[in-house]
Structure formats: structure tokens, C-alpha cells
Point group: none
Chain length 205, copies 4
């Protein structure tokens, strides 16, 4: 309501959201009771319902809050005067930095929304597709400009790109692959490098 140092109301609302991130990340959305969120936030049970229509609305808020940043960043990147692979690299970096900055939130978003096709994934499909679309458009532009090969369907690439990056994040989240700072640095580059240049050596020709 205010933008200064005021704490009061918005405070508790924020506390609930932050608590939800932690609990959703820890237990998963389905295993989380509304009481768990309230406990974690240190507020009364009913307050969650004072600020949010439902448990689902809490999740939605969390997702929208973050996803819109990604969308904005993607759009901004798209508009900039960069080569396609640089744009793709920018998106990958943004996602990975998001994870580094707040791994719990990203875990929740990926596990509970983005890859939860039967629940939130369905609800937020339009926003999720918007992110894929930016990638597709970058690829299409690259093809139009002759930088990318024309045979590959840009829509496919949008999905591969996100499929691969999210798989990577999942790997970190669940400890399948090491999650060190260097890994983070390399990973984004590697996704794009692999996508753009392929695995095979071309110098041999």
C-alpha cells in the first residue's frame, strides 16, 4: 500500500508468500497443508485466507510474480540488437541466475507449475507458452537471416530449449548433477552451445 519503510500489512502477506516458497520447496505443493504455510510464516491459520483466496492462489501469485520477470527479460532481450545465439544465451543465463538467486522459488515453479502439466501447468499454459514463443521467434529470425538452418521447426526448438534447461535445473534441485558456481556459469553456455553448434566436431571436414 505504501512504498516507504512501512511494514505492517504487506509485511505479513510477504511473510506468507516467503513461507510458502520454503514449504512448497520442501514438501511439494500437494503435501503442503495451509497450516504448514501459516506455521512457517508464524501467522495465524486464517490469515492466509485473509490475504489469499485459496492455497492455489498463493502458488499462482508465486509463479506469476517470477514468471513475469522472465517474460519481461525475454522480451527485452528479444528487442535488443544481438545475434540469435546471444539472445538465447541471455535467456538461459537469466533462468539460471534466477535459480542461483532463489533456488527454492525456482524449484517450486519448475516442479509444481512448469512441469506439472496436469495441475498448474494447465492453468498457466498461456504464460508458459509465451516464454517458449520468444525462443521460437529468436530461432525464426535466425533462420530468416540465414544464421540458422531452415529445416528445424522453431516451435520445436522453443520446447527443446526449455525442456533442456528445466531438466538441468531439476538435476540441480534433486542433486543429480553437481550444483557448484562454476557449473552454473558453464551450464547456460553449454545449453546454447550444444543447441547452436551441435555435439559433433566440424573441424574435421
Amino acid at each position: 500500500m505504501a512504498d516507504g519503510v512501512r511494514v505492517a500489512p504487506a509485511d505479513k502477506r510477504r511473510a506468507i508468500l516467503d513461507a510458502a516458497i520454503r514449504v512448497f520447496a520442501r514438501q511439494g505443493y500437494h503435501s503442503t497443508r495451509v497450516a504448514d504455510i501459516a506455521d512457517e510464516a508464524g501467522v495465524a491459520y486464517g490469515l492466509v485466507y485473509h490475504y489469499f483466496r485459496s492455497k492455489e492462489a498463493v502458488m499462482t501469485e508465486l509463479f506469476t510474480e517470477r514468471w513475469s520477470l522472465l517474460l519481461d527479460a525475454s522480451d527485452a532481450l528479444y528487442e535488443r540488437d544481438l545475434r540469435p545465439r546471444e539472445k538465447l544465451a541471455g535467456i538461459a543465463r537469466f533462468i539460471i541466475d534466477s535459480y542461483r538467486h532463489d533456488p527454492e522459488l525456482m524449484k517450486v515453479i519448475i516442479v509444481e507449475v512448469t512441469r506439472a502439466a496436469n495441475s498448474f501447468g494447465a492453468t498457466h499454459l498461456p504464460e508458459i507458452r509465451r516464454a517458449y514463443d520468444v525462443v521460437s521467434r529468436i530461432v525464426a529470425d535466425g533462420q530468416r537471416d540465414g544464421v540458422f538452418r531452415a529445416e528445424v521447426d522453431p516451435d520445436f526448438v522453443g520446447m527443446w530449449f526449455y525442456g533442456a534447461i528445466e531438466q538441468l535445473l531439476s538435476g540441480w534441485v534433486f542433486g543429480l548433477i553437481p550444483a557448484t558456481d562454476e557449473e552454473f556459469e558453464r551450464a547456460g553456455a553449454m545449453v546454447v552451445e550444444t543447441l547452436c553448434c551441435g555435439l559433433e566436431r566440424h573441424d574435421r571436414a
Copy 2:
């Protein structure tokens, strides 16, 4: 009791499994009541529990049944005397053919297990990783033989590969991309082609 095409006891058990595939695919695991499965199978409620310990056990059976085929196919492909990209193409084709052959089952497996990191994904992590590993080994072999560039982490490629393909299947499942026969034909080849050669045109150099 009879000979020839006997169906007998295993019959109803199979009917329950098949019904479960349809209902899980339609409503998702969590929204599926055990009664839905029984109804769909045309059997009494209790019979589900006669054959399976729990609703979860039904899902597990479905997953294991199919995933072991993938694992076997992957292993067989790995052993054959093929070039790395042919092996990768074989795996991609197998997965996509699985989807063409029984899209509902594959939908269930991907949506409810493979990408459900908080529920069945956690339970079946070892088997899931085994599939990734085959890809990693193919890549590592390719690097050792000088066919693939050495800079990319094989484990990373395993995840990239499955992340991309599963995203593709998700796209078909949820109608994000057209799911025609030609698309199926192209898609597998295209993932591998792109993964191996990259998006960028090299002829220009």
C-alpha cells in the same frame, strides 16, 4: 481349463491396468479415484485391491512395465555396432514410437512419473537415471572416439536429450504442437540432427 486363446484370471488384472492408463491419462493420477479405475474397467471396486496393494502400486506397475522396455531397448542399441548419432536416433525413435503406439500410457509416464519430481519421480529416480545414463555413455564413447567434441559433459547431454524429447511429447500431449504422423517421423530425427549438428549453418564458414 480351456486351451488356445484363454484369457482367464490375468484378464481382469489387465483390464484394470488398461483402465488405469485411460483414466490417469484423462484426469491425472491425483484426480483419479480408485472407483474411477474400477468403473472404467467394469469391475468391482474391491477387485483393484485384490490385484494391487494400492492405487500407487497400479501406477508403479504401469511405469515399470513400460520403462523396462525402454531400458532394454536402450541397452540393446548401446551394444550394437552403430555410430553414436545412430544410437541416439534409435533411442529417440523408440520413445516416439512408444508414444505413437500408446500415447495415453506415455502421457501418464511422462506427466506422472518422469517429470513428477515430488512424487513418483522421486520413487523411480534410479530407473529414470538409468535411461539417462545410456545416453551419457553413448556421448562419452563418441567423445573418446573423436566423433563428438570433448567440451560437453556427457551427463549434461543425457539430461538435455531427455529434457528435450519429453518436452516434445508434452507438446503433443497437450496440443501445443501438431501431432501428425509426419511430425512424429520428423521429430525424432530432428532432435538428434540438431543435437549433433547444431542449429547453426556451418557451410557458410
Copy 3:
């Protein structure tokens, strides 16, 4: 059906009853599934229902079989030309010997019937009371003959007697008191001795 060496039919029926004793004793009636009885007896599930109308009927048979022996023995004792306390001692001894001879069956009868006032105890109340009645009549006779004091209500003594003895058996069953052979020998005599003579020393007067 036959009384010779024939085994067949009666055999399995008996096997079921004997198995039921063991399982009821081990798990209690309510925690026993019909399948447990069949398993323990090594027969097919359905056979239990071939020989018995219901799970309850199995329990009833077990109880009736044994309780009628007690009733017969009590009646016989009552008819004999013995002093009251000898008759009481005879009953106590019979019960305790029953326990020594087949502790599992007696455990089941006491725990699941005699003291299960809400279930089998209610159903078999008449037969249970018949046993108490014999004691009451012995006491009444003793009072009439001037051997016993007249102030105590004979019905009351019937309950006292069985209450005390069954508590004793319970103590053995659940290991609250040592269950050695000497204990068995002493216990019956001691109840009757105490009941008849009291705890207090009279020699002091």
C-alpha cells in the same frame, strides 16, 4: 462324520478350528482376517465358508465346544456328594486344567467371549451365566446346610468366583504373574481357600 480312522472332511474342518484358535489367540478376534485363518490352516479361503457360516460362527463353535465341557463338569461336580468347598475347588481346578491343557483356546474364550461384554459375551450370556449359577447353587446349598455364612449373596459369589479366576488366567495369559506348573497347582486351591476362609487369620482370636 465317521469315528474311525477316517480323516478327509472332518479333518479340514478341524484344521480350520485349530488354526482359528492359534490365530485368535495370537492376534485377537478383531484383528484376525478370515484369510489369516485359512492361511494358518493351509486351506483355501473359501473353505472356511464351506464349513462355517461366518467368522463369528467359527468363534462360537470354539466357545461352545469348550464351554459345554465346563458346564458338564460343573454339573457333575455339583451332583457329587462333596462338601461345598470341594465342589468349588473342583470347578477351579477344572478351569485351570483347561488352561494348562490348551492355553490358547482358554485365552481366546476368556478374552474374546467371557469378558467381551459387548460382543460375544452378550451373545453367549445365557451359557456364561449357567456356569456362574452352578457356583451360586453350591454356595446356596452351603448356606442352607449351615456351612457357609448366610449374609453373602450366592449370586454375588458366583460372580466373585469367576471374576477372580478369570483375572488369574488373564494374568497368566499376559504374563502379569508367573505361569509355572507349581503356580497352576497352587492357584486354584488358593482361590478357594481364600474365598472360603478369608485373608484374615482367625487363630488369633
Copy 4:
């Protein structure tokens, strides 16, 4: 929030407990559905689970609440400067008064806990034994002081005492013996009288 005779929160919790007493007494624990308790208490189903972890927890609370009174009374009696038989009489009277005061609760406790060796009896064995122990100690003291005969095992007497009294209460509960006020008055005395003095007339010696 208010002062004086406030009832507030504890109110409904108490209502549930009181309702449970009535329903358990009427139908028995196993035949009682949680819905029956809620209905009887005039509260919503879920409220039972708001206040109690489970149906079993309701029963446990009922038992513990009452049994601790008995234990306290027994201990107090034991400490007082009374003759053994007066202490025993005190305990008997306390139990019988408990029954007169709240017959339904005592019925539940005896039928469902104290004599339900396979269910709650097993769970609460330690507390139940503590009650027996006080009797045993009273007897042992009596023997040490030469008031009681030494031949009888004090532990036996503890069991007889409770076995007899509970049988008596059972008799009242199930209408086997008249449950009038005079009977109540006499009964306690009679149990102890019988136990201490025996059935036989000693004046004849």
C-alpha cells in the same frame, strides 16, 4: 475475553468427550463411528479431529482422566493410617461410587479398557497394573503385620480383588444382578468381607 463462568473453547471439547462416553457405553467402542460421536455432541464431524488425534485418542483421554482419579485415591488410601481391610474397603467403595456417579463412563472403562486385553487393555497395562499393585501392597503390609495369613500371594489378591469388583460392575452394567442403591451400599463391603473373612463360618470351631 470474558470473565466469570466462561465456557468457551474447552466447552466443545468437553461436549465431545461426554458424547463419546454415552455412545461408547451404548454401542461399544468398535461399533461407534466417529460420526456418531459428533452427532451425539451436536458438532461437526471434523471437530472431533480438531480436538483429538483419533478416535482412539478420545477413548484414551476418557480412560486416563478417570483412572488417574482411582490411582490417586488408591495412593491416598494406602498412605492413611488404616487397617488393611479398611483400605481395601476404601478402594472398593471408591470404584463403586465412581460407578454410581457415572455408570456410563465406568462401563466404558471396564468393558473397553480394563477387560479388553487385546486392545486398550494392552495399551494401558502399566496404569492398570498400578491399581492392582496398591492392593497387593496393602495385602503384603497386612501379612507383614500379622493381620493377614502369609500363605496367599499378594499379587494374586490384587487380581482377585479387581477381577471380582469388575465382574460385579459388569453384572450391574448388563443387568445380571440388581443395581439398586442398597446393592451398591452392600456390594463394596461384601467384596471385602468375603475376601477378608471368607465364606465359611468360623464361630462353629
